[in-house]
């Protein structure tokens, strides 16, 4: 008996001394704690085919995949709650695995348990030294959403012009703006801007389905892609108006925004007839 417990103690001690120093990386979401050593086994089974044994996005399948699998060694992530340039939170990575990435080959891994996913997060964080030298910045704050009104949608449409979202996303949000064909990601692979009008009622955004998620996308930017952060140049209320307008570009999706627009006659009232796509912006810089 004593021998057995001694043996257990010894093996326990060994397990700690072996796993802790080599896999110091942990992940935390709620009450869950993820361990990189466990996540490594799951990664080898479920993720390695695309993301590769080195985590650099060069798995066997990568050559057939567009957009390319994420390179975890760069520690640059698209869907974050943190400002541009910052590491994401554990929760952000955890959500990304569970949600998957629409319009890409990354499926939603809701077949894995919550514990599986948090273990994977811990392992993914072992691919870059940034996780040991840096901390994720504080998540951005999303203020409460104001009412969805035709005024809000109309102002959002004005901001869509003023911020020149259409340069990439196109006037109808179809991802066909004048700069669209030239866009590349940070690894020089061609990349398409989001097409809001594609898809039916299930039309969804890359980083989540709620209006809060849409708000976050243009405040945080989509790092590693051409989509910049607008955090320094848009006020919270304006940002919400833009969210309400963007929802109306999802023409086939059932939404409160589309209902409000329909009730207002189906068209966004314009202040003056203009052709913004070809207009010269000069002289309108100080205007609204």
């Amino acid at each position: 008996m004593i021998a057995v417990s001694k043996c257990l103690l010894l093996s326990f001690g060994l397990a700690i001394s072996v796993t802790v120093p080599s896999f110091a990386q942990q992940a935390h979401v709620g009450n869950l704690t993820g361990h990189a050593a466990v996540g490594k086994k799951l990664y080898r089974r479920f993720c390695v085919g695309c993301h590769g044994p080195l985590g650099d996005g060069n798995g066997e399948n990568a050559q057939w995949i567009d957009p390319k699998p994420r390179d975890f060694t760069a520690a640059t992530f698209k869907c974050r709650s943190t400002p541009t340039g910052s590491l994401p939170t554990d929760q952000d990575l955890y959500n990304s695995i569970g949600r998957g990435f629409t319009n890409s080959n990354m499926p939603h891994w809701d077949a894995l348990t919550d514990q599986n996913r948090i273990d994977l997060v811990a392992f993914i964080k072992s691919f870059s030294p940034r996780w040991t030298t840096e901390k994720p910045s504080d998540p951005i704050t999303v203020p409460p959403e104001p009412a969805i009104t035709i005024e809000s949608i109309t102002h959002g449409a004005e901001l869509f012009q003023k911020m020149e979202c259409w340069k990439c996303h196109g006037q109808q949000g179809r991802g066909d703006g004048p700069s669209a064909s030239t866009l590349t990601d940070s690894k020089d692979n061609p990349i398409r801007p989001y097409n809001f009008a594609a898809g039916a009622d299930d039309s969804r955004f890359k980083c989540g389905v709620t209006n809060q998620d849409v708000y976050k996308i243009f405040i945080t930017g989509v790092d590693g892609t051409p989509m910049p952060s607008f955090a320094d140049v848009i006020q919270p209320n304006d940002a919400w108006d833009l969210v309400h307008f963007l929802r109306t570009l999802q023409t086939n999706r059932h939404s409160k925004e589309n209902d409000v627009l329909k009730a207002a006659g189906g068209k966004i009232p314009t202040k003056a007839p203009d052709a913004p796509a070809n207009s010269d912006n000069k002289g309108s810089g100080g205007g609204n």
């Binding site: 541009t84 340039g85 910052s86 700069s179 590349t184 790092d223 952060s229 320094d232 912006n281």
Partner: protein, 234 residues
């Protein structure tokens, strides 16, 4: 007698900063051999507000040359031998977007030094430094918005681009020293205020890579160090 002493003290105070900085100078010229690739003409017709600012055709600036094979926009800096500089200079460096071009095309700065990015155009730009060692961020800057302020913590040559205007391309040279210069249109550069010592001078060109040379400064003298890059024809 007393006035003489006072004079000496004042003189010493005036001179000492110069002694600390050093009186040595390294200067020279950066040139190329061979035939540099022809720069491409930029078509800005998709951005009329920028196109109209230019009366002559604008080209890419990957390799900018001058008379007598001069090579411009080369970062020449002390890469070894200079005393550590724990603090970044207090004044900011400025990177301006004007006419859908970056001015300057190559901007050098100290690690931790404030970088101000200005949009002088009537169009939105996004500033996207494709950093690999530093953090990669990407910020939108619509017309009329105030300068944005950033800094880089680690030494790196960071390519900068604007995704909206794909021809816009520049570089941030983030260095651990204030002893740097960018070669001018005649290829010339000067690194002044060097204390006596042995230095490694590095020259970096965005397409041609780096070269290094060692130089020893003993007191108040000017040493000439020239760099010659072999041009890539394509």
């Amino acid at each position: 007698m007393r006035t003489k002493q006072l004079f000496l003290v004042v003189f010493a105070i005036m001179v000492s900063p110069a002694l600390l900085l050093g009186a040595g100078t390294v200067s020279g010229k950066v040139t190329y051999t061979g035939t540099p690739a022809k720069q491409k003409t930029i078509d800005m017709s998709k951005e009329p507000s920028c196109a109209k600012q230019h009366t002559t055709p604008i080209t890419t600036e990957t390799v900018v040359t001058g008379a007598n094979n001069a090579l411009e926009n080369v970062v020449v800096y002390i890469s070894a031998g200079a005393p550590d500089e724990p603090n970044a200079p207090a004044q900011a460096v400025t990177f301006t977007q004007k006419g859908c071009q970056y001015i300057p095309h190559v901007l050098a700065m100290h690690t931790g030094q404030e970088l101000k990015v200005v949009n002088d155009d009537q169009t939105s730009h996004n500033i996207h430094p494709l950093a690999k060692i530093n953090r990669e961020w990407n910020k939108s800057q619509p017309p009329g918005t105030p300068p944005l302020s950033e800094k880089f913590d680690k030494e790196e040559f960071v390519p900068v681009k604007c995704n909206v205007h794909p021809w816009m391309h520049g570089y941030f040279a983030v260095l651990k020293t204030t002893h740097y210069a960018i070669s001018s249109d005649n290829g010339g550069f000067t690194l002044p205020n060097l204390p006596a010592g042995k230095y490694t001078i590095t020259a970096w060109q965005e397409d041609y890579g780096t070269q290094t040379q060692d130089v020893t400064i003993s007191g108040n003298e000017t040493k000439t160090v020239d760099f010659t890059f072999k041009a890539k024809p394509y």
